[in-house]
Structure formats: structure tokens, C-alpha cells
């Protein structure tokens, strides 16, 4: 009994340390974002700034094209999230439930594309988009992220677990395959769809590398890129940068808190029961 108690205490200590390691930088950023003093790297670190102010948050909005970056981010993220949910579900349904020649080969090719590191694809993607005159445009920002193989795989695994009887009952009731997908499978796949939506939203909202490559004028920047552009070689306004960073992490945080249940289900899935 005593040993179990000791184990619990040890476990809590390790958990506490790990939590501090993860949450520490965030708390430090939060503290800096409220700091009135631009010289924030003094030792010892002060988590509660003496001259706390909201000025940095006001300045983010007033001094920077924050509204435009926000619009760009929202546009890219919304389109990519909706499109990923729809196409991943549609392709997942096709691979899980329909029979057609070459199905397994196509699926294997899709899966093997996951083995290629994303970084290798940056140059070919850029060349293709350049040929299509889509560099520094919304098309260039959005198109490459409209659908992802990981999401297709996730949805395919989920749909595979839904009993075949349900699909056949719908066929006898008079459904077409698209109707089965739309009216029967989608409504009962909320946990998987939410997982796909959350993953895509998070990835798209925080995406930095691709916007860096595909955009070159400030009006096309997304929020992470806009924030990064505040870093200068000689002088960086850290409180302003941190205020912006905190602001852009809020939606992800909110979505995670609201859909936490689905998120955890989604992680544990690749195959939830219907």
C-alpha cells in the first residue's frame, strides 16, 4: 500500500516536471506579451512583469496589417479544413466500401507517398505552381493542402469498421452509394470527422514553411509568417511579437478545449466502432 502511494507521488513529480517543461515557454511568452519593457531577457526571469500592459495587444492590431494576415489565415484554414474533411471522407469511403479495379494498387501508391519526406516535395510543388502562375496567390497557398493522404487513411480505417449490414440495409432501402455516404456514413462518423478537422485546422493555421516559400509580398502573408517577419537582425520587439503569437494560438487552444473529447478519440482511432 505504502509502495503504491510512493509510486503515485513519484509519478506526480515526474508529471509536474514534464508539464512545466511544456507549459513553461508558453507562460513565459504570455508574460512577455504583457510586458511594457522591451528588454525582456534579463536574469532572473520575471513571470509577472512589474509594468504589465495591454498596449502590445493594441499595437499588434493597430501597427501591423494584422487584420489582413488574419483574413488570409482564416481563408486558407477554412477552405483547407472543409476540403480535407470532405475529400478525405469521400476517398476514405471509396477505399473502404466500394469495389473497383486497381483499388488496392491505388491505395498502396497513396500510402507510399507518405514515406516521401514533405521537404523533398517543396521544390517540385513550387515549380508546378510557378508554371500555373500561382506563386504569391491564394491559389498557391491553398491548393497543395486541399487533401492529405493521412486524413484519407484515417477515414478509410474508420469507415472499414462500420458494419456492412448498415450499407446493405441502405441499399435495399433505396439509397445510392453517394447517399449512403452522405446520409448514413457521415452522420455516424462525427468523431473521425472532428479528428480530421482538428488536425487539418491545427496544421493549416500554424503552417509556416509553405507560406514562406509561396508568398513574397506582405499582403499575402498568413499570421505565422507575419509574426516571423517582425523578427529583425538588430532589434526585435519581443513583447509585440509575443502578443501576436499568443493571439494566433488562441483559436487552436479554444478548438482543442472544445473538441478535446473528439481529439482524443481521433488519436486513439484509425478505427472507431460505429
Amino acid at each position: 500500500m505504502k509502495q503504491i502511494k510512493l509510486q503515485k507521488i513519484l509519478f506526480l513529480i515526474v508529471l509536474g516536471i514534464m508539464t512545466m517543461i511544456y507549459i513553461g515557454p508558453f507562460l513565459f511568452s504570455l508574460s512577455i506579451s504583457f510586458s511594457g519593457d522591451k528588454n525582456v531577457f534579463e536574469w532572473p526571469i520575471s513571470f509577472l512583469p512589474d509594468d504589465a500592459t495591454f498596449a502590445n495587444y493594441r499595437n499588434v492590431w493597430n501597427e501591423l496589417p494584422f487584420g489582413k494576415w488574419l483574413f488570409n489565415s482564416v481563408l486558407v484554414t477554412t477552405i483547407q479544413t472543409i476540403s480535407n474533411v470532405f475529400f478525405a471522407a469521400l476517398a476514405g469511403f471509396t477505399f473502404a466500401r466500394l469495389e473497383f479495379p486497381g483499388k488496392n494498387i491505388i491505395f498502396t501508391i497513396l500510402l507510399s507517398s507518405l514515406m516521401i519526406p514533405g521537404i523533398v516535395l517543396l521544390v517540385p510543388k513550387f515549380i508546378v505552381l510557378n508554371e500555373l502562375s500561382l506563386i504569391n496567390s491564394y491559389g498557391g497557398l491553398i491548393l497543395p493542402g486541399l487533401v492529405s493522404v493521412t486524413n484519407i487513411f484515417l477515414m478509410r480505417q474508420f469507415f472499414s469498421t462500420i458494419p456492412k449490414d448498415l450499407e446493405q440495409a441502405a441499399l435495399i432501402d433505396g439509397c445510392s452509394y453517394f447517399r449512403i455516404f452522405w446520409e448514413i456514413f457521415l452522420p455516424i462518423s462525427k468523431p473521425a470527422l472532428a479528428a480530421v478537422a482538428i488536425y487539418t485546422f491545427q496544421g493549416s493555421w500554424n503552417e509556416f514553411l509553405w507560406p514562406v516559400i509561396v508568398t513574397y509580398t506582405e499582403d499575402m502573408y498568413t499570421l505565422p509568417l507575419g509574426m516571423a517577419s517582425l523578427r529583425h537582425e538588430l532589434l526585435t520587439d519581443w513583447p509585440l511579437l509575443m502578443a501576436g503569437t499568443i493571439l494566433i494560438s488562441l483559436p487552436t487552444l479554444a478548438i482543442f478545449i472544445i473538441f478535446q473529447r473528439y481529439f482524443v478519440q481521433g488519436v486513439s482511432s484509425s478505427g472507431l466502432k460505429g
Binding site: 440495409a169 441499399l171 435495399i172
Partner: protein, 370 residues
């Protein structure tokens, strides 16, 4: 009016070496309740699903009311199907589950409401109409599944082991409910089960399948009394028929001889068995038609057969007595005895089999000789 005609039907799954259904020929009459029964993997569900249009037909033809169905999709066959796992749409209420097929057929809303409520009344599920499937018991879900099938008033109802997920009591209850429904709806029904008691109690006629072949298609009592082969004789009836493999020899007329016992064949059977002299035959006798010679004095029984009681299974109304013939201690048989008659393990006494119920099968072909 709905007849089903199955002609030379064959099903081979892609990549499979053997056919799942081989040359099936079945004609199901209008308003008939036909049960497809057989052990696991015999092809009964495949056959039902081919009627439904859920499985492609490799060869042969299925016709409903003389119209070829092979190329029609399930929705165009005017059938309804009840699945083993209910297959209710989990996100819809009972009402919506039942109304769904009507909505797809663009039936006016008021009419849908009336039809669904009528069906719910028949199945006594009116109080469940607002519930979701997850909030109901297995029996209630199965009623809803049946309700969903009756609202469309289809020509044919197909049932794929609908009661196998229910507990024993509920199964017995639902059995009679489905039979009642059959009378009420006056429809053609095809019902799949692996449970021969379910088949016997429900079917007007029964198709017995084995390894994709139709063994016999007959009424329940004919299957029980006049099985065409050893498989049907052994499959129908519980406990199943006792079999002894032996030979017919010419000795005191015609005699059956085996490791277990030796007896002179009764006069009535001699003409049939004459041509099997010197050949291997299997003697079959049902546990129901074995009598203790001490108690049974009226029936025409076979000559005395000496047995020793090996074990006893009392089930209340009667007891299953497992015994062996004194000639062969390795081979066990069963007979049903009135539970009033007290037996103990090790008892030795004489039994006789009702002469009219003796059955002989050709050991090589397994076809019935008598």
C-alpha cells in the same frame, strides 16, 4: 403475389476454388414461409443475399414473379431484408429508421406518418418511435428492424438469422411473432437460420443446405420422417439420429451386421435391402423411436437389442439416455425416455426400435435406401 424461382444458381467468390452455391434449383410459392437451414458455411446466407441482390450471381437465374432479377439492384427488386445485427441507422430515431425508405421513394409526409404508425401498432413499438436504437434492448431493436421492412409493403421479406442475437426466451417469443406477422401480411418470406428447431417451428417448407448443395427441400415433417439422405437425417431432429455403419449379409434371410449389433431385418424392409447384400449400409434410428421393451407393448418394435446405460441427461419433461450396445463399448447412442422412468448409469436392458421408423442409408452415396 410473389413467387421466387431459382434456376441452376451458382456462386463462386473471386479467388475461391470451390463454389459456395452449386446448381441450386428452388421454387418458392406465393405467400410461402421458406427457411434456409444448414451448418455454418453451407451457403444459406449467400443464397439469401443473392435473392436480395447483395451478391453477384456467377451463373443461373433468380426470377421474382417470373421476372429475371439477376441484373436488378436491391432497391428495384421490391424486397425487404431484416439483418442479424438489426442494421438500424444509429443516428436516426425509430420513426426515421422506419420512414427512411418511404422518404427515398418520395411518399408524402402525411402518408409516411400513417404507414409508420400502423406498422408500429402491429409490432407494438408505438412508444419507442422517438427513441434512438442505442436506447433500446435487442428485442426492441429487432422489432424496429422488422417494422422498417414492413412499411414498404414489399413483395418478399428476407430474414438473415434475425433472432440469433437474442436470448433463448425472447427468441421463442419472436419466433411466434414473426409467424403471426407472416399470416397477417400474407407475404412470401425467406428466412435463414442455422438453428434447426427454429427452421422446423417456423417454415412451411425448409431448404436444407450442405457445402453449397441443396440436400432436400420439403415440409418440416417430411424432412424429419423421410429424409432423402444421411445428412438431412442427422441435421434435422434434436438429439440427432443415431447411425451405425455396417453391412447387409444373407443369413436367416437378410441381416444387418455391425460392430455394435446384429439383427435380422424386418420383413417389410427386405425387398429394399435385398440388392444391398454384401454392401456397406448405415442403419439410422431416431432417439424418439427407441423404446424400453419392458414398458412398450403396443408398438411394432424390432427384435431385442441389449444396451447398457452410459450417462443420463435429465431435462425435466424427459431424459436423454446415452447408451452403448453390449457388442461395442466405444460407440455411444441416445434415446429419449419419459422422465418418470427411472434409469441409472450401468443399467442393462432390452430396447426395440419402431419398425416403421427404421432407416437405412447407402454408406457410399449417403442416399436413403429405406
Amino acid at each position: 403475389m410473389a413467387t421466387i424461382e431459382i434456376k441452376n444458381l451458382k456462386k463462386v467468390y473471386p479467388g475461391a476454388k470451390e463454389a459456395t452455391i452449386e446448381n441450386a434449383n428452388i421454387t418458392i410459392e406465393d405467400k410461402e414461409f421458406v427457411v434456409l437451414v444448414g451448418p455454418s458455411g453451407c451457403g444459406k446466407s449467400t443464397l439469401l443475399r443473392m435473392i436480395a441482390g447483395l451478391e453477384e450471381i456467377t451463373d443461373g437465374e433468380i426470377a421474382i414473379d417470373n421476372v429475371r432479377m439477376n441484373e436488378l439492384s436491391p432497391k428495384d427488386r421490391d424486397i425487404a431484408m431484416v439483418f442479424q445485427n438489426y442494421a438500424l441507422y444509429p443516428h436516426m430515431s425509430v420513426f426515421d429508421n422506419m420512414a427512411y425508405s418511404l422518404k427515398l421513394r418520395k411518399v408524402p409526409k402525411a402518408e409516411i406518418k400513417e404507414i409508420v404508425e400502423n406498422a408500429a401498432k402491429i409490432l407494438d413499438i408505438t412508444h419507442l418511435l422517438d427513441r434512438k436504437p442505442k436506447d433500446m434492448s435487442g428485442g426492441q431493436r429487432q422489432r424496429v428492424a422488422i417494422g422498417r421492412s414492413i412499411v414498404r409493403n414489399p413483395k418478399i421479406f428476407l430474414f438473415d438469422e434475425p433472432l440469433s442475437n437474442l436470448d433463448a426466451n425472447l427468441r421463442v417469443h419472436m419466433r411466434s411473432e414473426i409467424k403471426k406477422l407472416h399470416k397477417q401480411l400474407n407475404a412470401t418470406m425467406v428466412y435463414v437460420t442455422h438453428d434447426q428447431i427454429e427452421a422446423m417451428t417456423m417454415g412451411d417448407r425448409i431448404v436444407v443446405l450442405k457445402d453449397g448443395d441443396v440436400m432436400q427441400f420439403d415440409t418440416p415433417m417430411n424432412l424429419f420422417n423421410n429424409p432423402t439422405n444421411k445428412f438431412v437425417a442427422g441435421f434435422i431432429g434434436s438429439p440427432s439420429m443415431n447411425f451405425i455403419e455396417g453391412k447387409i449379409i444373407e443369413e436367416n434371410g437378410i441381416t444387418f451386421i455391425s460392430k455394435d449389433l446384429k439383427f435380422e431385418v424386418p420383413e417389410d424392409l427386405k425387398p429394399c435391402l435385398k440388392e444391398f447384400i454384401g454392401k456397406d449400409v448405415t442403419f439410422g434410428f431416431r432417439p424418439e423411436y427407441i423404446y424400453d421393451k419392458k414398458y412398450e407393448k403396443i408398438k411394432r418394435l424390432s427384435r431385442d437389442m441389449e444396451i447398457t446405460v452410459d450417462s443420463i441427461e435429465p431435462i425435466g419433461s424427459e431424459s436423454y439416455i446415452y447408451f452403448r450396445f453390449n457388442g461395442n463399448p466405444e460407440h455411444k447412442f441416445c434415446f429419449r425416455s419419459d422422465s418418470q422412468q427411472q434409469y441409472s448409469v450401468g443399467d442393462t436392458f432390452s430396447i426395440g426400435v419402431d419398425i416403421n421408423r427404421l432407416r437405412f442409408f447407402d454408406t457410399t452415396t449417403e442416399e436413403r435406401i429405406f
